[in-house]
Subunit: 341 residues, 2 copies
């Protein structure tokens, strides 16, 4: 490659205050640098958009360094190797990029990349969702932390989301009663009719506490928590002795500034001997094989349901991110940057 | 026994609002009923006074039914069998009474009792403290939940208390750096000079957060939490990734009415992947042998330090209970009801 490629990219130019606003991210271009030894040039195909992007944009205390002002916005995705100075990756390989950027092309070190093996009848987008980070998040949070047993009651918040929908199905497969909390009648119907949830609560139309009382007559044993705030409080208030909270996210609080206090009635954690465990999927990636051993055949066989919500065009990424906070998306949110190979 | 014994007893006649007040408990007398088959008459010798009494006096959500208004105040202790209709206990046996009462004599079923085997050179009071519920609480909270490793930093609140002092020593024995939070210079000196804590923070004289910064330069890996509220917040704010909180008690909140919210910055639990686990010693009693296997030889050999604060006379029990909330006691608080056998 002799002509430098033009690389469109989103840079973080301002930390959001409250909701993400136009002007927090800036769409620019830059030449793609030459590869050093061990590096690979990836043409990005799909970019994953996740609630954690809002965290990375802030300078709050977090699990990775915040994205620096002026830097390309951090993101994970799937792409195709276009050029390589690595022994391990060849042109045309399909790869996952763990911590890449919102850009057309990423110059990645070998260590940043995973190999994606396409499966017959499974769309590539599955590897960025149910067989990617979101599926692994669901698996480790539910299986390792939630540990649902047959006959127990499990409540999943943001249950129609990319993580929650998989987490709930995994609990269902273990014989638990699964109740999802989601926004809107269509999502709730999908949970019950398509995914086999025992019940779904539309937080926009019902009082969550009253609905939990109705749908969880034996209390709640496991909470897979994606929302935080009042939703989490309503669940914890109904948890049984020895309950487990897999604290995966608190999207309802990400647009707040300043600290957000934990469970409104913290004494219950003591009295009911509840375990709350915060987790981030990156800690589990070395064990990904274990989760994929269950997820892959279920996805290939169509037994595990999932949806992708694909927005076309890198230029639309910043607007698309906002969908996560209004719930206007339907399935794992991602941006198609370039055509599938 | 033909003449019914006169049984002095404390009854709960009113639920405390805020601090326990004179008039919440009433000192009365009643005859001791005759024994039914399988029952044992215990002359109580020592009554354990613990923060959990404040919980039992309230009607908040809790881990056992609240003590009913008019009922004898619930309590655990050690006593001597004075009469028996049980095959398993003989007159003169020394027994522990798990859920007895604040009274001279308790009519107990066999199942309520444990056998106390005196050890050479170990005072009987040890069996109500370091070898009793408080020692077991410390052991399970620290060993099972805290899981301190050599080189890690452990912070214990109410560290000079009956539970905290043992918990800290157990962490020290596992090679952790142990920092205690306690009230007053004398208690702090005891922790460092006698118990081998690496540092102690006098919360009455110092800013706890600043002192934690000074004494925990590598952050905090384990929090054995007895206090809750602002003390707990200061510790959690400094916890490392994969930190563990053994939530044993929240004495600072027991006199509040209404729910008390949990960690002021709950997002940190997610970002740092912290595990918080509430626990109550009664869940672990079936496994007591495991803890006593470590504790008993350490106590017999004088390697584990502990103190009892004995108040004489059942009539003084209600006043003595207040000491727990001002910290004016020094060691495991108990009431001597009758002479040691």
């Amino acid at each position: 490659m002799t002509t430098p490629l033009n690389n469109r990219r989103w840079r973080l130019v301002r930390r959001p205050e409250g909701d993400i606003a136009a002007g927090d991210l800036e769409f620019t271009t830059a030449p793609v640098p030459a590869l050093a030894a061990g590096e690979v040039l990836v043409r990005n195909v799909y970019l994953s958009l996740d609630p954690t992007h809002r965290i990375w944009m802030s300078d709050r205390d977090q699990y990775l360094p915040p994205v620096e002002i002026g830097a390309v916005m951090r993101g994970g995705g799937i792409g195709v190797v276009e050029d390589t100075r690595s022994e391990r990756f060849a042109r045309g390989d399909i790869v996952s990029v763990g911590l890449g950027g919102w850009e057309d092309y990423t110059v990645a070190s070998e260590r940043q990349l995973g190999r994606v093996r396409r499966l017959d009848g499974v769309p590539l987008t599955a590897h960025l969702s149910v067989l990617g980070s979101t599926g692994l998040t669901a698996w480790y949070g539910m299986v390792d932390i939630g540990q649902p047993k047959a006959g127990e009651t499990v409540v999943v918040s943001a249950a129609a989301g990319a993580v929650g929908s998989v987490a709930g199905q995994l609990a269902r497969r273990r014989g638990a009663r699964v109740v999802g909390i989601a926004g809107g009648a269509a999502k709730c119907r999908w949970l019950v009719d398509e995914l086999g949830f025992d019940a779904a609560i539309d937080y926009r139309a019902e009082d969550v506490g009253a609905a939990l009382d109705r749908h969880c007559p034996n209390g709640i044993d496991v909470n897979f928590e994606n929302v935080g705030g009042a939703t989490m409080d309503a669940v914890i208030a109904r948890m049984n002795t020895f309950g487990r909270v897999a604290l995966c996210g608190m999207i309802s609080t990400y647009n707040h500034s300043g600290p957000v206090p934990g469970p409104a009635d913290f004494a219950r954690v003591l009295m009911r001997r509840i375990t709350i465990r915060g987790f981030i999927v990156i800690d589990f990636l070395p064990r990904a094989r274990e989760a994929l051993a269950e997820l892959t055949p279920l996805v290939a066989g169509g037994e595990l349901k999932w949806k992708a919500h694909v927005v076309d065009g890198l230029e639309n990424a910043a607007d698309a991110l906002g969908l996560l906070f209004t719930g206007a998306h339907d399935g794992k949110l991602m941006v198609r940057i370039s055509p599938e190979p």
